[in-house]
Amino acid sequence: MTNTLRVSCDRKNLKTIRQFVTDTLAPVPLTEITLNQIILAVDEICANMIIHANQEDSKQFLNLTIKYDDQVMVFELTDNGKAFEQANYREPNIKENIRQGKKGGVGVALVNRIMDKVEYSVKGSTNICVLHKYIN
């Protein structure tokens, strides 16, 4: 099963993206909690692409392709904005975020804890993020 969505870089499209993930994964036997976690992980990567990589420029687009079989679900996200610098990423200290009153910085931690494999790459001007989640 393969399904693809293309949306402009507007944060209002996050709801559309979540609905697309929900609809595409409907045939997969997942608990409500696991399905919500997967939707969340995809939402977090898309929010970063829309807000940070593309500065909410609605003339820019991101693509999401979902593939699955009976063992694994694979989510491929691409855009042409500023690449995520994985080498500079540090896991957040939540207590310190609370002390500092920090709003952001916990999305990638959620993705890393939810997904079984997270890969970032760049091909020409295209940034690619691939998320893997195994089906138990």
Binding site: R11, K12, L14, K15, R18, E32, I33, N36, Q37, I39, L40, D43, E44, A47, I50, I51, I94, K95, N97, I98, R99, Q100, G101, K102, K103, G104, G105, V106, G107, A109, L110, R113, I114
Partner: protein
């Protein structure tokens, strides 16, 4: 996202209805940033109809928690759906914030 308020004495109950993501959490942040909220000593957050929360929604609560604690304002979540509570748990936020089952429990803890 719809946000409703109920006020009684020194308690404000905020009912969240919908999904808190990077788009809708801006509205909640404006609510919690309003200086008038500091008049209350208890903020109860009814999560019964909160169907989804992303890091942006969590970030709103994370960013105000210290300010409320410094002002001795209690922030208590109740009626949280299991899938939403799970998102708090992934980051260990359930240990750093007060999340209880029912409104009655929230009121009891708020009055402690």
């Amino acid at each position: 996202m719809k946000i409703k308020h109920t006020i009684s004495d020194n308690t404000i109950t905020i009912s969240l209805d919908g999904e808190l993501d990077a788009s809708s959490s801006v509205m909640l942040d404006e609510e919690l940033s309003n200086p008038s909220i500091m008049m209350f000593s208890k903020i109860l957050v009814d999560c019964k109809n909160l169907n989804y929360i992303s890091s942006a929604g969590l970030g709103v609560f994370i960013s105000h928690l210290q300010r409320f604690e410094d002002a001795q304002i209690k922030l208590i979540f109740f009626n949280m759906q299991e899938k939403v509570r799970n998102v708090f748990e992934i980051l260990g936020l359930d240990l750093l914030m007060t999340i209880v089952g029912s409104y009655e429990e929230a009121v009891t803890i708020a009055n402690d």
